[in-house]
């Protein structure tokens, strides 16, 4: 059974800090690893990492995938209060297309 473990479970920082969120996974026939930001109800897509795209960057956010060690990190630099949210990591297998297995999430709180 596919498994995703995120750490830390919660994190409190001040504006301007840099944070690193971790995601380790076990999945058979790996297709992709995805990062989402969840502020209220709907998760918002951040990154999708695959065998052909192991590093992504968008503004202050970046993510890398280590397929050998089976983990990914999400970095947020110069954090802002608007970054406060739950960050979710999910994996998808080729054999269960479209089925995402989510980790428990990291609750990030950014104080002014």
């Amino acid at each position: 059974e596919d498994k995703v473990v995120q750490s830390p479970l919660s994190l409190v920082v001040h504006e301007g800090d840099t944070v690193t969120l971790n995601c380790s996974y076990e999945v058979t026939n790996f297709r992709s690893l995805l990062w989402y930001k969840q502020e209220k109800k709907a998760p918002t897509f951040l990154f999708m990492l695959t065998s052909s795209g192991i590093e992504k960057k968008s503004g202050r956010l970046s993510s890398i995938l280590d397929k050998k060690e089976l983990f990914s990190i999400l970095n947020i630099t110069a954090t802002q209060t608007g970054d406060s949210a739950v960050y979710l990591c999910a994996v998808e297998a080729w054999t269960s297309y479209g089925k995402l297995t989510f980790g428990q999430g990291t609750i990030l709180t950014v104080h002014p």
């Binding site: 989402y36 999708m48 479209g98 089925k99």
Partner: protein, 115 residues
């Protein structure tokens, strides 16, 4: 990527009743996915809905409790039947993003409280 309109946004329901959640997508999609997020928990896939065939349910979820309709390529409904307080959750629909490289897009979610 696809835009999904989900409703209702929230509802408070009496135990023993049923609620139907709707998702409308602005483009045709082959598969739609329904997730549940219980309080303090992460998302769990309930079922995959294909147009023209029965939905495929994940372990622990059954059709009698969560019947799904998929009448066309842009619309799906999930019904939560004979509700109990344990059904209080956020329910989300999802579709694949455009070109397959934009992950999966989620609807705005339905926050269900059963009293």
């Amino acid at each position: 990527s696809a835009v999904i309109s989900q409703k209702p946004s929230r509802d408070i329901c009496q135990r023993g009743t049923s609620l139907t959640i709707q998702c409308q997508v602005d483009s045709q999609v082959t598969m739609m996915f329904w997730y549940r997020q219980q309080p303090g928990q992460s998302l769990t896939l309930i079922a995959t809905a294909n147009q023209g065939s029965e939905a495929t349910y994940e372990s622990g979820f059954v059709i009698d409790k969560f019947p799904i309709s998929r009448p066309n390529l842009t619309f799906s409904t999930l019904t939560v039947s004979n509700m109990s307080p344990e059904d209080s959750s956020i329910y989300l629909c999802s579709v694949e993003g455009a070109g397959g490289s934009y992950g999966y897009t989620f609807g705005s979610g339905t926050r269900l409280t059963v009293v």
